[in-house]
């Protein structure tokens, strides 16, 4: 009996391994008259929320728009439809890496769109470089973007780094302080993960240099759901400005807690989630004056048209930070294909050096990075408007102090 078991096991094992290797490819992907585009975005797991708001809707909207208009234009003027190969990366980098290998070596897709998240984009960067695909990393905030762009020359980093956002915020607050609207004390909390740490370590020196005093400066673990203690400490700290480098659950939780405890700082800043379309609902309609990361030029007709199209296709408006940039990155890709075709090297060079007309205006990358970004936005009259850099075209004037909840 025992012997039998052992032999069956080995047979079964080798059989399954063999079948793994020869698993049939997804049929009918690489037809000549279509362009196959693959992506592996989180449908399940902790990254699913971020991907579900910023990444997936924009991919789907773009593919739909392109295909309805007859497909992508090739350099010779012909049109080719997009065919999508989509997988779930289960929010796990191990699965993600394998899926990218599948897209590149088995499905042999023409182009690969990046997943959501900084860690995910870094995880696939060496692979994308090895297979030669251009990588338009949008949802990756990292101070090391210049380094990565140099390391993998077909990677493009389009959302800036933590210190950019921190510097923008400090700029907004110093202006208000110099005008005498707020005092020079700041209460700041940050989520303990790569994103929060990048922002706080950029913000500390910037605040100090601008003459601010950080009277409360703590980090909280990812997964914290109760902010009553933190907010009551911040309230008692005597700071006029409350700053949170937070993820959506934290941003929402702190907003609600501040409202219910009647904490009314003159400047209230949260990070990811503040620019989400659901934010005003979470703030119970009292979002006016809340500042957050990102922003769009709400007066631009292109943005308004994009918002309307997104709302119609997806059912809700896009978020006002990375969504428009995600969509713009896809428009860049389409225009680059129209100019140079599908050759990866030519495509990467074109994306790196070309100028593109997108929903966020004219885009030209610097050293493979998008630097012409909005750092701080604010809810004003029901729209999330960009307020910093203040000298950029389309910037709105900040409302400080924020009206009471």
């Amino acid at each position: 009996m025992k012997r039998f078991t052992r032999r069956t096991s080995i047979c079964a094992l080798s059989f399954t391994v063999a079948s793994a290797i020869t698993l049939p490819a997804v049929p009918a992907v690489a037809q000549d008259d279509t362009i196959s585009i693959g992506y592996a975005v989180a449908r399940t797991g902790p990254n699913a929320t971020g991907a579900g708001i910023t990444t997936i809707p924009n991919y789907e909207l773009w593919v739909d728009t392109v295909n309805k208009s007859g497909g992508l234009t090739m350099p010779d003027g012909s049109r080719r439809m997009i065919e999508v190969v989509e997988y779930d990366n289960r929010s796990s980098n191990e699965d993600l890496v394998r899926t990218i290998e599948r897209l590149a070596s088995q499905d042999e897709v023409d182009l690969i769109l990046p997943p959501w998240g900084t860690g995910a984009n870094l995880a696939i960067a060496p692979l994308m470089a090895r297979f030669g695909y251009p990588q338009l990393a949008v949802t990756a905030v990292t101070d090391k973007a210049p380094e990565f762009a140099a390391r993998w020359d077909r990677s493009f980093w389009m959302l800036g780094g933590g210190h950019d956002y921190a510097a923008g915020l400090v700029d907004v607050l110093s202006t208000a302080r110099d005008a005498g609207t707020i005092n020079d004390k700041v209460a700041v909390v940050s989520v303990a993960d790569g994103f929060g740490i990048d922002l706080i370590s950029g913000a500390r020196p910037a605040f100090e240099e601008a003459g601010f005093e950080l009277v409360y400066d703590e980090s909280y673990p990812l997964g914290t759901s109760d902010f009553a203690a933190i907010m009551s400490e911040a309230q008692g700290s005597g700071a006029d400005s409350f700053v949170a480098f937070s993820y959506p659950p934290g941003s929402f939780g702190m907003t609600k807690t501040a409202q219910s405890m009647g904490y009314n700082p003159k400047a209230f800043y949260i990070s990811v989630g503040g620019a989400f379309p659901i934010y005003p609902g979470i703030a119970d309609g009292k979002a006016e004056g809340v500042m957050a990361i990102g922003g769009v030029n709400a007066d631009s007709p292109a943005i308004q048209e994009y918002f309307a199209r997104h709302t119609e296709f997806v059912g809700n408006p896009p978020d006002s930070w990375a969504s428009a940039i995600t969509y713009a990155s896809l428009e860049m890709l389409a225009q680059a294909i129209e100019r140079v075709g599908l050759d990866h090297e030519a495509l990467a060079t074109e994306i790196s050096t070309g100028t593109f007309d997108t929903v966020i205006g004219e885009v030209k990358l610097e050293d493979n990075q998008l630097r012409d970004l909005w750092w701080v936005g604010q809810w004003q009259g029901g729209a999330f408007r960009a307020i910093n850099p203040a000298d950029a075209e389309g910037a709105s004037t900040p409302i400080i102090p924020k009206p009471e909840w």
Partner: protein
């Protein structure tokens, strides 16, 4: 003799497999080899003792973290050595204090342990080093990772085979049957359990260290993903945790089914996976191997 030859031939065949597969095929091989290693290492301790440990990811993640922290300071082999040492120390400390817990208390404890390690590393990185994400820029190809993982997996199974025959394995089996009996028959409970626990932990830690260069960016939330612990347990139990080839036989098909489901049904794969699990529990209660044996026994009776 055949008992040895077939596995050895299979191992040689698997070692040459990367020459015949695409990058994706290699990715699958790495994934399968990793889970075979994890499940076998888990079963090394838990298979006979029936201590269901959910601390797999505590060690696996620690291994990945060691690689991330040390890869620039030390040569590769030294990092692996360090990782193994850290895993062993951690397991010894934890084991000394916890192995007297039984049943569900041990399950929950091991689960809490993984979370505690994750929280402590996060806190340390945030407050002491001031950086959270770490990068692993090592010049290691996917093939190298595969070969290392294959070797580790083979070593684990060989070690398990050896332990099954040794006094240690005997002692573990007695402990699994009844701890009181084991104690009365002169088995040093604490020592036996601790040895098995540490051995298993070292392998888990090494597995984490070996795979980590594949995903470049390491962050506690990424490497201490509790799903890994659960998957390991399920795979081992599916195959049959107290048999030599059971964990491997559970890990490979389950891994492939997950892959197949998530590529073909990206929207609804959790539903299928849930149904699959429930189905396995109801239809193959003792694991695949026992199921096959039962089926064969029934046929014998009929004929």
């Amino acid at each position: 003799m055949t008992k040895l030859i077939i596995p050895l031939l299979a191992l040689v065949a698997l070692a040459f497999a990367p020459n015949f597969v695409s990058a994706y095929g290699l990715g699958l091989l790495i994934g399968a080899a990793t889970y075979v290693t994890l499940a076998s290492a888990w079963a090394l301790f838990s298979g006979h003792t029936h201590y269901v440990s959910l601390a797999t990811v505590a060690f696996y993640g620690t291994g990945a973290y060691c690689m991330a922290v040390l890869n620039e300071a030390l040569p590769y082999w030294a990092v692996l050595l360090c990782a193994g040492g850290i895993g062993a120390t951690m397991a010894a400390l934890v084991g000394l204090s916890t192995l007297r817990l039984q049943g569900v208390y041990f399950v929950i404890f091991s689960f809490g342990l993984a979370e505690l390690v994750r929280q402590l590393i996060t806190w340390y990185e945030v407050n002491v080093t001031g950086t959270l994400g770490r990068y692993i820029f090592l010049d290691i190809s996917a093939r190298d990772i595969y070969w290392q993982m294959l070797a580790l997996g083979a070593a684990t199974i060989a070690l398990t085979a050896w332990i099954h025959r040794s006094r240690l394995g005997m002692a573990l089996r007695v402990i699994g049957d009844d701890e009181a009996v084991a104690a009365h028959s002169g088995i040093n409970l604490a020592r036996v359990k601790l040895i098995a626990f540490v051995l298993s932990a070292v392998i888990l830690t090494l597995a984490g260290a070996i795979t980590s260069p594949r995903y470049v960016y390491v962050e506690p939330a990424i490497v201490f993903n509790p799903t890994v612990s659960f998957l390991t347990v399920i795979m081992a139990l599916l195959g049959g945790a107290n048999r030599l080839w059971g964990p491997a036989l559970g890990a490979v098909p389950l891994f492939l089914v997950f892959e197949w489901l998530s590529t073909n049904f990206p929207d609804s794969y959790p539903i299928f996976m849930g149904l699959l699990f429930i189905g396995v529990v109801f239809l193959l209660p003792d694991g695949i191997l026992a199921g096959i044996e039962k089926l064969r026994a029934r046929r014998k009776v009929q004929s």
